[in-house]
């Protein structure tokens, strides 16, 4: 069955592209001279981020440069994405410490539970979001790398200001 196509005759003013193009170009030139700027010139300029920003992890250290972590195993237990690998061990003084502590930043969903559960205030999320690597393996951060991070840590929850206002 042939399809009946009804061809509607429209006046030239409606079908011509000339007017539409000129309207668009007019808008472009208007914005060229308009002083109101909306684009942030990243990376030269940066937006400020919230103190509760949950970004790249960081392991805090004690005064003598050791990781605060005691390998209690709470963060791998609480982690909903299963991205923390922890193998506990014992050092020469008989202190419990992590032999292996790895966070897969790709797997991580940045929920912040690890920071919240940590009894030693060792693992923190940070106010940092710029991560790039040449390989997937590079996103598995080991203890050394987590300790070497210097960005400010996330202020997860301030008891004096529970709503973060």
């Amino acid at each position: 069955m042939a399809i009946n196509v009804k061809v509607v005759e429209r006046p030239l003013e409606e079908t011509s592209y000339v007017r539409a193009t000129l309207t668009g170009l007019g808008k472009t030139f208007k914005h060229l001279i308009d002083p109101h700027k909306v684009t942030t010139q990243y990376p030269e300029e940066r937006e400020s981020i919230s103190p509760r920003w949950r970004g790249t992890h960081r392991m805090l250290t004690t005064e003598d440069g050791k990781a605060k972590c005691v390998a209690c195993g709470l963060c791998p237990t609480v982690c909903p994405a299963n991205c923390i690998k922890l193998v506990p061990g014992e050092d020469e003084q008989g202190n419990r410490y992590p032999l292996v502590f790895e966070i897969d930043e790709f797997r991580c969903i940045f929920c912040g539970y690890c920071q919240e559960v940590c009894p030693e205030e060792a693992i923190h999320l940070g106010r940092h979001y710029e991560n790039s690597e040449y390989s997937r393996e590079g996103f598995v951060y080991d203890l050394e790398r987590l300790m070497a991070q210097t960005h400010p840590v996330c202020e997860m929850w301030d008891p004096a200001d529970p709503k973060g206002e």
Binding site: V70, A71, C72, G73, L74, T77, P88, G89, E90, G94, N95, R96, P119, E120
Partner: protein
Amino acid sequence: MADTPLVNLTIEGRPVAVAPGTTILEAAKTAGVLIPHYCYHPGLPVAGVCRMCLVEVEKFPKLAPSCATAVAEGQVVHVHSEKAREARKGVLEMLLINHPLDCPICDQAGECELQDYTYQEGRKDSRYREPKRFNAAEDFGGDVRYVQNRCILCTRCVRFMDDVAHDTVLNVSERGDRAFIGKFEGKDLTHAWAANVVDLCPVGALVSKDFLNKARAWELDRTASVCTGCSQGCNIIVETRDNTVMRLRPRSNESVNQFFMCDHGRGDYRRLNRRDRIEVPSILGASGHVTVDWDVALEAAARVIKGKRVFVLASPNLSNEALHLLSRIARRSGGAGAFRVPLGGEAPLPGAPDLALRADRAANATGAQLLGFTRHDAPLDLMQAGDALIVADHDLTEGDAASLSKAAVTIVIGSAMPANLPKADIVLPIANVVEEEGTLTNLRGRVQRFLQAKAAPGMARPSWYVLADLLGALGEKADYFVAGDAFGALAASEAAFAGLTYDSLGLRGLPVIDAARFAEAAR
């Protein structure tokens, strides 16, 4: 006992009837009420030192320690009344004065009774501001480390060593807030059952050096099983993580091991984790072993067995089901089976009746004998020239190797390759005791079930499954789909096991029909 009238009482509003002389704590358990306690343990004499089990009994002038108070007719007990809770809260606060609260680095965290009860009914904070007492951890010898700071002085360990192990090693040294568990001069926790103090310790004061920092309590998966360290057949819990056995702990069974398990049995987890396992079925070809499919391997095994007399060298650690199927394979060809039991020193636990680390270091020697296998120091002497030899998970000594040439063909059905075996024509991998289900018969003729705790490596299959398939390939009907089916066939055809069913065994086991003769042999 049946004509002794029961005592009726009410615990938390629930009527309970128990035998006279029962303590309130035990009576409460029957009513489904757990009274918090530290020093009380059903396997140890009552001490009444922790004051944690205080309950309110109507018409008593003051609170009563339920572990040391016998029930009386018409008693009304309140476990969770305001007064009792307040008292226990006080006890907990006192216990926590010097407790370091180092739960993040404590091995007991997650299975700690101090943690549990503090969450349940303790204060949320401490009112004490003074610095906590600190003492260094001490090595108690054996597998035990004592962390004094965490100790709550319940004295379970002291009572275990004195009254159950009859080896006085531990004591309570010093007095008052300086008190700690001390070791007598020149003595160490080297008793063969000493590691039980680690399980008995309700807190993390006594910890296993071997298990230290290896796993957290909440990461472990627990499975009921039976220890294969000796012929006692202690009931155990296999604790696994990531398909690896992390430790073995005792499971209470009044008729076998009460609440205990020996150090030899605990160390057995290493053998269960061994890495040099057979993972694929293979057939010896012109240029060494060739990996083949299960069907091919079983067909080949059936082909070489057919027409020959079969001699089975069966490990006395195999399950009853596997041994039954092996004996059927041997019997249908007019063959025989034998085994050797590895021997070791006997180490009794004097405070528990009929409990010892037995000299026979095999879990199912009784079962093997009941199923027609001959116990022999040189089992291969019973083999005739030209036999088809099946080595079923049995170890070979250098002495055995000389007799191996008598065999026309050698088939290995095992979890690992036996040492001193120059040549195996066909190799069939099977699961070990924590990787399959089945039953074992201990030296008193008690048939006990064990459950699967982890996955078998590679293509290995449960022993009863492999042997039933082999029987099938030989032309005998043996289509069992679960271990219980294989046990059903065993109970139906072996007189000694008659009347037992897989379900009726439960997890505590049942004795075989003429178990009395095994008990007699002991005396």
